[in-house]
Amino acid sequence: MASIEISNAVKSYGAVDVLHGIDLDIQDGEFIVLVGPSGCGKSTLLRMIAGLEDITSGAISIGGTVVNELQPKDRDIAMVFQSYALYPHMSVAENMSYALTLRKTAREKITDAITNVAEILGLTALLERRPKALSGGQRQRVAMGRAIVRKPQAFLFDEPLSNLDARLREQMRTEIRKLHRRLGATSVYVTHDQIEAMTMADRIVAMHDGIIQQVGSPVEIYDRPANIFVASFIGSPAMNFLKGAYEVAQNGTAGIRLTDGSFVPVLPARGATANQAVTLGARPEHIAIAADENGENGGIPARVELIEPMGLSTLVHVSLAGNPVKIFTLDRPDFAVDSFIHIAFDMEKIHVFDTETELRLPPENEPHGPQTA
């Protein structure tokens, strides 16, 4: 097992910069998830760690050794591909033992390793089959097995679950986490699925346009997003955003005057000045449906546009002065579409973003946390 350090890594294809100076330290044994929309450079970064792409500038080291010039085969890492990339002309057992055979591992040792891993992954009965004769889920397991038998310095995963159906994906998510517990291997996991990121990561690395937006534990990223991008990308249903101007009263209380004139009180934001253009960010679960106009925090009237029952909860889509707002509630709604309700924002939980820089302006009482912007 090993740590991975990436310092100021840049990747360009010709004149196009795909990664703009990535800095990231991955601890030994950590499970890191790179998350971001398609095309943001996650795979490129992962492939640079693997040695499948040249590093334009900067350095990557694995276990303290700079690997920039090392071939993939000399980096001692294993990778699970989105397509699984199983060798079609080899049996499951041969697929899994290929790397060990190349390393001239003793026959009995290989057999032991394969038997052991096949048992862990439930592949024992399939060892003689060709990949062609396996289901998607089974192929995925073989790809995992091929990585595990090698006991590499680090595991790299490139969207390994995106070809599975939802139920299987959920199951494999848990299994991969359990495997990581058991093996304790440094892992870098790429996904565009923020739920995978939230549920699996020790630390999430949120990326956008070849730049790391924020690094932090899932809860940190969810509760204290560094900017509008991270806030909108992480969390489903997504955070609501409303534009307005920052206001401070004589007594020190603060709030945001929305474009329609309504006023939402917020905790005083660090660095915000009066009349500054700000964006209010509120997760659907941080907006309450007030019983009446005199509800908590006063209520802002909003028209109900759609009611989406989701079993456990209900998602209520409302229109607030023309802006769509989603509200998450555990109550069964007793109002109809097109009626007016009053909604109230949870002052402690909502966020203030600088509209221009898109950075979050944290409440004055929040401790200075480690945040990457």
Partner: protein, 283 residues
């Protein structure tokens, strides 16, 4: 649309017409071969006297006997095997490596090389005979099998390369990347993972180049003047004399010339069929 899922009568009509068309095509394609065989076993004395018949009243092996024992044909035949075999193997090896690099790498000048290779395919060969003769003569490569092999290889490499490239394009990059991470160099990954998966493509390319070189007449005729370096298509012409054509012997030689091509395809058909049916690479 699932045609075969309908009523039995419609199914019958569908498959009936299906096989009828295939049958008609096969008859059309194979009839000349049948005629070749028929004439080759027809005795000379009744070739012109019996009129047009589907099968002669008497058959004989004497044409074959003559061709094999009294003519230079076995020698031409051997020359052709050497030329076509070597050309097929060398061309396929070059095409495999070039096709792989076209399929997998972006490099400076790639577009220019591809364009040049396409351009070579546009000229009528007749135009090139004189310059090629001029080039080969001082090198002592006219009137030699080596010269023919070089020319055939040069002419077949572009097309064979594009053919191989398309086979490599069908194999996901992930496979050799996985192999490289598993401990192969790129070349090892090519040899141990990619090439075995491209065997159908290799077989198809070998077959294509072999038949092209086997039946090439123009260069074989123009670049070679001596008996000793003649290939069999040239040899076939020797059955045409100034005053007559010995059809029986010519046809017998023709039938014999089919044998290596057939044998070759029998040898590689396993891979060709695999290539058509497997689709094992993806999914």
């Amino acid at each position: 649309m699932n045609v075969s899922g309908n009523s039995p009568a419609r199914k019958l009509v569908y498959w009936g017409s299906h096989y009828l068309m295939i049958g008609a095509f096969v008859v059309f394609a194979l009839f000349p071969l049948y005629w070749l065989l028929k004439v080759s076993v027809t005795p000379n004395d009744i070739l012109y006297t019996e009129g047009v018949r589907m099968w002669p009243s008497r058959t004989t092996w004497e044409n074959y006997f003559f061709v094999l024992t009294q003519s230079n044909f076995p020698h031409y035949f051997l020359n052709s095997v050497i030329v076509a075999g070597t050309t097929a193997i060398v061309t396929t090896m070059v095409a495999a490596v070039t096709g792989y690099s076209f399929s997998r790498f972006a490099f400076r000048g790639k577009v220019i090389i591809v364009a040049l290779m396409l351009i070579t395919q546009m000229f009528p060969l007749v135009m090139l005979i004189a310059p090629i003769f001029k080039i080969l003569a001082p090198l002592g490569l006219t009137d030699s099998l080596t010269g023919l092999i070089i020319v055939y290889t040069a002419f077949n490499v572009p097309f064979a390369t594009f053919l191989m490239q398309s086979f490599f394009d069908g194999i996901p990059k992930d496979l050799e990347e996985a192999a490289m991470i598993d401990g192969n160099t790129r070349f090892q990954a090519f040899r141990r993972i990619i090439l075995p998966l491209t065997l159908p493509g290799v077989a198809a390319t070998l077959g294509f180049v072999f038949t092209a070189a086997w039946s090439e007449l123009l260069f074989a005729l123009m670049l070679v003047s001596s008996e000793s370096a003649s290939t069999f298509p040239v040899g076939l012409l020797s059955f045409v004399s100034k005053f007559s054509v010995d059809f029986g012997q010519m046809m017998a030689a023709g039938v014999l010339a089919l044998i290596p091509a057939c044998a070759f395809f029998l040898l590689i058909q396993r891979y060709l069929v695999q290539g058509l049916t497997a689709g094992a690479v993806k999914g």
